[in-house]
Point group: C2
Chain length 396, copies 2
């Protein structure tokens, strides 16, 4: 039977990464493909204690319906933390608890976009966000990345050349997939350009707390007067991704519509998981756990870069992330990284081709993304060695 | 600042019920407004045991990312249960775990609807579903309810008079808000009409297991060959609404798109809550808990109807639900129930005016919805008495 699928969803395909994730179940496969945090960082003992206590002492609150905008005490705790850590949140900002940072992007896209409207994104960018925009029929316009973040010149050009530019989507810290961090100057420039052109910025910061060197750059949201920046954050990389918890802070007028969209989407984020995050944030040492996680990833990243420099052809470039979970490598002009990905998969090493993170996924890309957060150092070295051998063969 | 909101979301308002729910926090208020299951029905002791065990023995599976379509063992357990209890699910059907039944409706609407497409709904109907359709710019066409379900004559007329009718939305069992159950004959007729006109049916069955008399009528989905009916179910009324767990079974082609839409929306439903539902379904006696819940609601419903017959003016009609959570009352032509709702709220009794459940919410309705699931018998009598006095005053 032929189904009539909506125009916005007709050509949508699933995330290539989640497909790899699904098929990388073979225990012999070395996966550098995912974006999973390391299970070592999950405070599972504490969460077991908390869940048991909540379901015993607060069963009704944990299991009954809640309000769409989220558990009030968790909203307050997150606002406090954002003000303290990031210096953001003013009188005209409101905050909603969402089912993972992804949902903040999805709801805001639904609220702001008509089909055909333009969303400007860094290129490469996070496929989850690209797909959220695509699923509302947006026209994606990619702006290339430089060492210190999005190209300002290309951004201005993109705005002047496109109609109905509604959203500028950016991941300023340890970007997925590039690992690049945007400089403070560029953050200010991006804000000013958005203001001048009446564009809403979605600032996505799932990795910000995973800094290797402790250097803090003010978020784009810190330049905002509560009128223009929707800031999305997540518990996925600082507590647990499987709990699906995030938050979204932005202009009251936009968050009010996000709440209405969420009500029609999933009514509210589960109460039990919200209460668990609140208890963990306020009664345990979340900062200690984050510091421990950041240290772990810093070591893993350093080790993988060491392996890359040992095993990859010298022409292959790589970024030097100052935090987060990803390294971006580039084979250089004329090469198609998908070919290397396919060959390596045959040898049971998986990672993600650059084309996955582009607005036009049909064009080949010479780049690819490596993840170091879950693999052991031994397996990382084995994997990078195999990739290196494959690259040498292709590039000889 | 003026924001440009998408056409589909521009005029969307929040659910009036959830607004009442939010403001009915005053402990003196008697609320007959919600749709909450009774907290007595939550197996919280068992869930505390389960959560503690999962987070202790399976911490990585409970806290790490999962696949979008849901925890495989839970999907299988739900499919088994649907086949056993409802006789539904064939080779061309697939099943996705969603974050509450609401999300199954939302995702399917997103997948099937372009702005301006028509969705045919029972009138009155569940506001959460109406809002999901509205949020994708659908044109809603309401078909009146009769004692044995939707009017078949009016349904055929509605289809012939509207263009691009894509979805027919129905709640055949103990409908929200009317409490009406659709007869088997009408279910067959509805399926045949949908087939003839190439319309997808969304069959919503959150209350089906809460039958007072144990009489089982085959769902519309049972007449389907896996081509036309998307069946949405929920754990909200048989386990816990706050866990936000539901499922959606339908043609593979549509579920495949639902999965892609969900990936872009919230990646997946939390692992911990999925695992909890699976453990409870397979290692505890969920049927016993459901039977206990149904018995409780049967008693509460019977008691409330007794009060209605004692205190309401005799001209006010009411439905006699055979299950579920709601009674529908009608003051009769010429009256506006909103007036009664407002007056009663001043006397601290809240319930929901009929207009809330209509396609055109600006038209007054002489009907209103009462909920009996959470209120004590004492409070129910007190509340119904106050409503009765108000109605007598208005209708004298």
């Amino acid at each position: 039977m032929e189904y009539i699928i909506s125009n916005k969803m007709k050509d949508m395909k699933g995330s290539a990464i989640r497909e790899i994730f699904k098929h990388a179940a073979d225990p012999r496969t070395i996966s550098l493909a995912g974006g999973n945090p390391s299970p070592e960082t999950f405070p599972s003992k504490e969460l077991a204690e908390i869940a048991n206590r909540l379901l015993t002492e607060e069963p009704v609150m944990s299991l009954q319906y809640g309000v769409t905008e989220g558990y009030p005490k968790l909203r307050e705790a997150v606002r406090d933390r954002l003000l303290r850590k990031e210096g953001i949140g003013c009188e005209n900002d409101d905050l909603i608890i969402v089912s993972g940072g992804q949902q903040g992007i999805d709801l805001t896209a639904k609220v702001l976009l008509n089909e055909g409207d333009t969303v400007i994104v860094e290129e490469p960018s996070f496929i989850g966000a690209l797909n959220a925009f695509r699923s509302y029929g947006a026209h994606l316009c990619g702006v290339p990345m430089e060492e210190d973040g999005i190209s300002i010149e290309a951004l201005e050009k993109a705005i002047s050349e496109n109609e109905n530019v509604r959203i500028l989507y950016t991941i300023p810290n340890f970007q997925n997939p590039s690992g690049i961090t945007m400089s403070e100057n560029k953050r200010r420039a991006v804000y000013d350009i958005a203001k001048k052109n009446n564009i809403i910025i979605i600032e996505d910061n799932p990795y910000g707390e995973l800094s290797f060197d402790g250097v803090h750059i003010p978020p784009v949201k810190s330049f905002d007067d509560g009128s223009r920046v929707v800031y999305c954050g997540s518990f996925s990389k600082i507590l647990s991704p499987g709990l699906r918890l995030g938050f979204c802070m932005g202009p009251k007028e936009i968050i009010a519509k996000d709440i209405i969209a969420k009500q029609a989407n999933d009514v509210h984020t589960p109460m039990l998981t919200q209460l668990m995050a609140y208890e963990y944030m306020t009664k345990y040492d979340i900062d200690k756990n984050i510091a421990r996680s950041a240290k772990l990833y810093a070591e893993k990243c350093k080790h993988m870069i060491g392996c890359i420099e040992k095993y990859f052809p010298s022409e292959v470039t790589h970024t030097n992330p100052r935090g987060g979970l990803f390294i971006w490598c580039d084979m250089g002009k004329g090469y198609d990284a998908s070919q290397a990905v396919k060959k390596c998969a045959e040898n049971k090493v998986v990672f993600v081709p650059g084309t996955t993170f582009m607005c036009d996924m049909s064009k080949p890309s010479s780049a690819f993304r490596l993840n170091y957060s879950t693999v052991s150092e031994e397996k990382a070295e084995e994997g990078i060695k195999i990739i290196g051998e494959t690259l040498k063969e292709i590039m000889k």
